[in-house]
Symmetry: C2
C-alpha cells in the first residue's frame, strides 16, 4: 500500500523531509545560524551584500499539469521560477522556504520527489531549504516558495533603469516552452521532444544574470516569466519608456519554426506571447554591447539577440516591419485572473 | 455591481494594492533598496543583526471560517501568526511577502480589506509589505506569508536550549481562543464575546518575546501556535528534555472557566490542547525568575505563570497532581494531516 500524508501526519512528514535534505541537500552553510526545526530560521548576512527576496506560487492545474509532469519536475520547475527572479536582479540564491498545500491522500513519496526537485535546482548554488510550512488543502495543490538571495551592495539591477537609445537584448529562444505545451496538449509530440522538455524542465539564466549585473554595463533586466512582450511591457512601464522591436531579428530556433508550422502559427507569436521560458531581457547603452555579450557568454553558450531598442514613452511598444511600417503592440503578460 | 478580481485582473489588483500600501502602510524604510514592483525586493541588512525568516499559510475552511471572520480579521490574524513566530525567537518583524491564492469571483474590496488587516498588524513595528504573488485558485483560498525580521547578533532564542531544572513559564491564558471557537460553533456566544474575540482577533507577544531574548535570561522560547502541550512537546523534543507540569498552577481566566462549564469540559483541557492563542512558553534557570518577569512586564500586563519545570528526557512530559500522583501526557499538537 502506498504511504500517504494522512498516514505519516504533518510532523512525520517534516522528519522525512529533514532527513532527505540532510542527505541530498547542500550542507548547512556557516552563516546559517538556525535551520529547519524552529519557529523561524536565522542567518547572518554577509557584510557588503544586499539581501534579495522573492516569492512565487504554482497551483496544480493552473501552472502545471500533473498528467505531463512528475513530482520531481514540478518541484524543480517551481524552484527554477524563483531562481530566475533572483538571477534577473543579479543575485545568487542562498535560502529557500517552502509552503506546500497538499491533499491528505498524496503519497509521501511524491512530496519527497518534489523536494528532490527543489534540491536539484538549489544544489548548484549551495543554496538550502531553511524552513517552510505544510498544510492540508481540499482541492487545490499549491507550492509557494520564498527564495532569499544576495548580491554585492550596489550591483542589484532593476526593471526601471532603461533609457531611450538603449539596445534590447534577449537570451536564448523565448517561446519554445509555449510551443512545447501546445505540442503536448494536441498530442503532437512525445515528452522527450526538446520543446516539451523546455516546458517541463525549464532552465534559468541566473548565473548569466549575476554576471551581467556584476559587469555594471546593463541599465535594466527582467526575466521572461510573463512572456517576452509581457515582461518587456513591465520593464517599459517601470522605466517610463517605449520600445521598438525588429521582428526579423527575433531568435527563432529550428525546432520552434518546425513546431509553429505544425501548429499553423507564426513562430514570432510564440516568441512574443506568454511562455514559461525563463530567459533574460537586458537593456544597455549602445556602447556596452560587447560587454553584455561577454558577461552572458561566460556561463551560457546560446544566442544573445539584439531585438530592438528603447524609445521615448509616447512611442509605446511597436514592431518595425522590414518595409518600415509600424504595428503597435499591447503587452498583456500572463494575467492570472483573466 | 461588486468589482471582482476577474474584472480588474492580476496587474490591476497589484496596482490597487500598491496604492493602498502607499497610503495606509508604514513608509518605506531607508534600508529597503527595492520594494514592490520588481522581480524581487532587496534590502540592506543592518550591521550586527541576524536575519530571521518564517513562513506560515492559512487555508480558508481549514484555518479560519469565513462565516465568522471578515477579510480584515483574516488578514490581521494571518499576519499575527507570523509576527508571533518572529517574536518567539526574540526578533522584530521588518518585511513581509504575501502570496494569495484567490478565486476569480472574489471582490476586490475583500482583498483590500485583507491588506488592511496585514498593515494593521505590521504598522506598530514600522514593518512593510515588500512583495508577493497573486494566483487564481479553483476551490481553496490560501494566504501564505513570509515574514522577515531581525535580532541583534547572538540574542536569537531557540527551542533547543531548555535544561533540566529550568522553570517553565507561560504568558497569558492559553486555551481561550479554542473555547471561543467552540462557543461560536455551538452558537453559545455572540462574536463580541471576549473568548470569541480571542479567536478572531488574536494578539501576539512579540514585543515581550524580544525583551526576553534581549535580557539574555531565558534558555528557550516558543509560541503556543500548536497549543500549550503541543509546543511544549516541540521544545522538549528539540532540547532533549522532559517536563513536569502542575495543573493547579495553570492560568485559567474567569471567562474560560465559565465557558468550560457551559461546554462541559475541564478548563485545563483547553489550556493544554490545540488553541489559536499566540502566547509564549519560556524556560529559564530558577535564579532568573524575576528577570524574566520584568522583561515580559515592560510590554504586557497579563500574568506570567510558572506552570512546571524541565526534567531529564526519560521523564517524558507528565502532570503532577496535588496528591503527588503522575499522569504522562502525549503531545500531539496541531497535525494538519490527521
Amino acid at each position: 500500500m502506498v504511504e500517504t500524508l494522512k498516514d505519516v501526519g504533518e510532523f512525520g512528514l517534516i522528519r522525512r523531509i529533514r532527513d532527505l535534505l540532510n542527505k541530498e541537500g547542500a550542507g548547512q552553510p556557516a552563516d546559517l545560524t538556525v535551520g529547519i526545526g524552529d519557529d523561524t530560521a536565522a542567518f547572518k548576512p554577509r557584510p557588503g551584500y544586499e539581501i534579495l527576496v522573492t516569492c512565487d506560487s504554482v497551483v496544480q492545474g493552473r501552472h502545471y499539469l500533473p498528467r505531463f509532469m512528475g513530482a520531481r519536475d514540478v518541484g524543480r520547475r517551481a524552484m527554477v521560477i524563483n531562481i530566475s527572479d533572483i538571477g534577473a536582479m543579479g543575485g545568487r540564491p542562498r535560502y529557500a522556504l517552502i509552503s506546500l498545500g497538499m491533499k491528505e491522500e498524496t503519497p509521501v513519496g511524491d512530496v519527497e520527489e518534489m523536494y528532490r526537485g527543489f534540491t536539484e535546482a538549489l544544489n548548484p548554488f549551495h543554496a538550502v531549504v531553511i524552513g517552510g510550512n505544510l498544510t492540508r488543502s481540499e482541492e487545490d495543490v499549491f507550492i509557494d516558495i520564498t527564495l532569499i538571495g544576495e548580491a554585492k551592495e550596489g550591483t542589484v539591477l532593476r526593471r526601471s533603469g532603461a533609457r531611450p537609445g538603449d539596445i534590447i537584448f534577449v537570451t536564448g529562444y523565448p517561446g519554445r516552452a509555449a510551443a512545447g505545451l501546445q505540442l503536448l496538449l494536441h498530442s503532437l509530440a512525445p515528452v522527450e521532444h526538446p520543446l516539451v522538455t523546455a516546458y517541463i524542465k525549464p532552465l534559468h539564466r541566473a548565473i548569466a544574470g549575476a554576471a551581467v549585473a556584476q559587469s555594471g554595463c546593463a541599465s535594466a533586466m527582467i526575466d521572461t516569466s510573463d512572456g517576452f512582450l509581457g515582461d518587456l511591457g513591465h520593464l517599459c512601464e517601470e522605466s517610463g519608456v517605449g520600445a521598438e522591436l525588429f521582428p526579423e531579428r527575433f531568435p527563432v530556433s529550428e525546432d520552434l519554426r518546425d513546431a509553429a508550422a505544425l501548429l499553423k502559427k507564426d513562430p514570432r507569436d510564440f516568441f512574443l506571447g506568454a511562455s514559461d521560458d525563463y530567459e533574460l531581457i537586458i537593456t544597455a547603452a549602445a556602447d556596452r554591447v560587447s560587454a553584455i555579450r561577454s558577461a552572458v557568454a561566460a556561463s551560457y553558450d546560446g544566442p544573445v539577440s539584439e531585438v530592438g531598442r528603447i524609445m521615448e514613452q509616447d512611442h509605446g511598444i511597436c514592431l518595425v516591419m522590414q518595409d518600415g511600417s509600424r504595428r503597435t503592440l499591447i503587452p498583456e503578460g500572463w494575467d492570472h485572473f483573466i
